[in-house]
């Protein structure tokens, strides 16, 4: 029951964040990139709700626009790595020969600590939102693929699937009718955790200067600016950090709740 509640709270918070992100350009007036050197580092006020940063940019605008970047990266990575990971996992489960190669590659990629692989990818491709999405997706694909492969292999052992195969049901039909329904629930749960991880990775990459270009208002970039100034303007680190934390918390709560609801036995692939 408590789990159910936390899922609703998490889901609700996430919906609010998504709405903020989607509606930001319509409900807010002002450019989050507009400089105003004369009014730098101001404390929160009626004019600037979260204050201004070291270049006089409005932090309320930047933090709200930051939600767009963060959620967009998280969502894109979750979607892309789910699709590609599922495809790879299924191919791997279907063919023993492909399995040997694919799973060794996946093991290898997973032996590279996620953030290091992302850093290496960013180092060769250069900073942009698209490159961050590509880098983090590549990092997350093996985790999805391994999960899907495991599920498909165990589903195949089930009598009803064996029966379907033995009566000559076309493979496409087996995938759609028997395998996908078994995959969907764990995949959704895994995707929410991928979403959270992707947002952390994006923020971390931007924070160390390997993510989105410094002028783009992403939470990681705002935090990177704030790290030099938090002693005089703690609010500058507080607001982006709080938004990032609440968003991550909501995704994690949603994920935990979904797991208990849909698939109580599954542990997330780390």
């Amino acid at each position: 029951m408590r789990k159910r509640l936390s899922m609703w709270i998490g889901g609700g918070l996430l919906v609010v964040m998504i709405l903020i992100a989607l509606l930001a350009p319509f409900i807010l007036t002002g450019d989050p990139r507009a400089l105003s050197p004369g009014s730098r580092l101001q404390p929160p006020s009626a004019l600037h709700w979260f204050g201004t940063d070291q270049l006089g940019r409005d932090l309320f605008l930047r933090v709200l626009y930051g939600a767009r970047i963060s959620l967009f990266v998280g969502f894109s990575v979750a979607l892309l790595s789910s699709i590609i990971g599922t495809a790879i996992g299924m191919v791997s489960a279907a063919s023993r020969r492909a399995d040997m190669v694919v799973m060794r590659v996946m093991d290898g990629v997973m032996s590279i600590p996620a953030i290091l692989l992302a850093i290496a990818l960013m180092a060769v491709t250069g900073g942009s939102v698209l490159n961050v999405i590509v880098a983090v997706t590549l990092v997350e694909i093996p985790r999805v693929a391994r999960l899907i492969r495991g599920i498909v292999l165990s589903l195949r052992e089930q009598t009803y699937v064996e029966a379907a195969i033995s009566v000559g049901t076309p493979p496409g039909m087996i995938v759609i009718r028997h395998l996908l329904p078994g995959i969907v629930a764990p995949l959704i749960v895994q995707a929410t955790f991928v979403w959270a991880t992707a947002m952390i990775l994006e923020a971390a990459l931007s924070f160390i200067g390997a993510g989105t270009p410094p002028t783009i208002p992403s939470w990681g970039n705002i935090l990177a600016d704030a790290r030099a100034l938090w002693q005089i303007r703690p609010t500058m680190i507080f607001f982006p950090a709080a938004f990032l934390f609440v968003t991550l918390l909501s995704v994690n709560m949603l994920g935990d709740g979904l797991r208990d609801l849909l698939d109580p036995r599954q542990a997330p692939e780390i």
């Binding site: 990139r33 400089l35 050197p37 004369g38 730098r40 580092l41 070291q54 270049l55 006089g56 900073g127 200067g209 270009p213 410094p214 002028t215 790290r227 030099a228 100034l229 938090w230 002693q231 005089i232």
Partner: protein, 530 residues
């Protein structure tokens, strides 16, 4: 575990925790002899002739020594030299070295070392090149004496050899000084008050020097870089901390003693701390500039440079970096505000301050979308802010712009590239020099336009070079001033760089440091710890 036990345990733990901050007496005794410096920029090169990067200059002042050294009024005094005499109607300098000078490998300093070092410096530095034009030859007299023969009298020679800023004439052993001036020396042997401990150098993390026992300081009191260079501690340690909030916390906590470039935004907190002294050490101030690349599009077009200068509003650049208005000053001149040649003649373009006029001028200049690449140094908050203001400005006047974030050391390497901006080259970067670097045309490295042999940006303008020669050859003060001002007026047409204004440059250190004196460079001799 019962709850009560747990609470008891917690209170014991809490009781012992404050003790964690304490240090043993032994640690304090050893710490007292090490000067711990927070250095903002990484020490990327160990060759002060090859690069003008400030960390390398600061390194060099510890390791090497100079024949002469200027005082706070730019008057040269003998440093390694005991003195000199003039012969042959001022056309020959006879320089005698002090007794007992030796390098860190205990080899004595000989005239051959000095001559080779002067030649290597003369190949790279602006003032050095000027000097070498006048020099006819060198002659060794004995182990402590040598002659510099000139084509004509040149009274500025000791001032050139003893200059305090940009690239200085440091004396290296002959074998190091024979290294191609366009390549870096790798050895670290000098004859200065501290020797570099190469085994403990971790690039990007720390650098260490130990007192050189064989150093004999001069007896005169210290005055700018002149006077006695006394090693007052056993070790100097630099920690490279690029995060200014961490740096300040380390200084406030007493983990470090001295911070060479405190973030101006954090100054109020440090001023409120009774254990910290914040003051200007370089009284000439620091001047920020937007250096332009004259060899590649878009800034190879003089009209595009003019258009950009019309858009620049110095106040915007200054205010973007520092909040305290007493720390900043717009300067519409190519000379420092305290220079005898300071004037606003010719600076009208910089006072335009109009985006619209700049847009129109850019259109007229025939700009067609060539990408402008800004080398954005992000580790220094002032330069980081100014880079973003530049990016914003270029975008607003309608240029295609890319800000590439990097650290200073990377910028120092990349700015050497003369390739187009999309092939690893660059269009502009923010740099800063102290007031004493730009006090007159002789020391001013960026007020040159001699093409590809000059400083990064490589402007070409024979007229500027001619006016500079006029200044050098002028015999009266009035003629000198006339030439210097004409040089500035011409420079505002060519725009070797765009002046962005000046800041008061502060340092922060703990109160128990002794002997910190006003100096245009970060020199660490004479500073002790009580």
């Amino acid at each position: 575990m019962k709850r009560r036990d747990f609470l008891q345990g917690a209170s014991i733990a809490a009781g012992t925790l404050p003790f964690l901050g304490g240090e043993t007496l032994a640690q304090k005794a050893t710490a007292a002899k090490t000067l711990k410096v927070i250095h903002t920029g990484n020490l990327a090169s160990l060759d002060p002739i090859w690069t003008t990067a400030p960390p390398t200059k600061d390194y060099a002042y510890l390791v090497f020594d100079q024949l002469f050294a200027v005082d706070s009024k730019y008057v040269p005094h003998p440093q390694m030299a005991e003195g000199f005499t003039l012969e042959d109607d001022g056309k020959t300098y006879v320089i005698t070295l002090r007794e007992g000078l030796k390098f860190h490998d205990n080899a004595p300093v000989l005239p051959a070392d000095c001559i080779a070092s002067i030649q290597r410096w003369g190949a790279r530095d602006g003032f050095g090149q000027l000097t070498m034009k006048v020099v006819d030859g060198f002659e060794t007299v004995n182990d402590r004496t040598f002659k510099i023969k000139l084509k004509k009298p040149f009274a500025m020679l000791p001032a050139a050899l003893g200059k305090s800023n940009s690239s200085q004439c440091f004396i290296m052993p002959e074998r190091m000084a024979k290294v191609d001036p366009m390549k870096q020396v790798t050895e670290t042997i000098g004859s200065g008050p501290f020797r570099f401990v190469k085994e403990e150098f971790v690039s990007g993390a720390k650098a260490v020097w130990a007192k050189f026992d064989g150093y004999i300081p001069r007896k005169e009191p210290v005055d700018s870089i002149a006077g006695g260079r006394i090693p007052a501690v056993d070790r100097v340690e630099w920690a490279f901390i690029s995060d200014s909030s961490t740096a300040m916390a380390a200084l406030v906590a007493g983990e470090q003693d001295y911070w060479d470039a405190p973030s101006p935004d954090l100054v109020p907190i440090m001023k409120a701390d009774p254990n910290i002294v914040v003051q200007a050490r370089n009284l000439t101030g620091s001047y920020y500039m937007l250096q332009l690349n004259h060899t590649q599009a878009p800034f190879n077009n003089p009209k595009v440079r003019q258009a950009l200068a019309m858009a620049v509003d110095q106040e915007n650049f200054l205010k973007s970096a520092v909040s305290d208005p007493t720390l900043m000053k717009p300067v519409y001149s190519y000379y420092g505000a305290d220079s005898p040649y300071y004037t606003e003649d010719g600076a009208d373009v910089l006072k335009t301050k109009s985006i619209d006029k700049a847009k129109a001028a850019l259109k007229e200049a025939g700009y067609n979308g060539e990408k402008a690449v800004i080398l954005g140094v992000m580790e220094n908050p002032i330069s980081a802010a100014m880079c973003q203001v530049t990016e914003d400005l270029l975008r607003r006047i309608g240029m295609n712009v890319e800000l590439v974030a990097m650290d200073f050391a990377t910028m120092a390497q990349r700015r050497t590239s003369k390739e187009p901006s999309d092939k690893g080259g660059w269009s502009c970067f923010i740099t800063s020099w102290t007031g004493s670097d730009i006090v007159n045309p002789a020391v001013h490295q960026m007020l040159r336009a001699a093409g590809t042999s000059g400083w990064f940006g490589w402007p070409t303008d024979p007229e500027m070079e001619k006016l500079r020669d006029q200044w050098i050859e002028a015999t009266t003060e009035a003629d000198q001033k006339k030439a210097a001002i004409a040089l500035q007026v011409q420079s505002f047409k060519t725009l070797p760089y765009i002046p962005l204004g000046s800041f008061v440059q502060l340092v922060a250190y703990r109160k128990n440091l002794t002997g910190v004196w006003p100096c245009p460079v970060q020199a660490y001799w004479n500073i002790g710890k009580s």
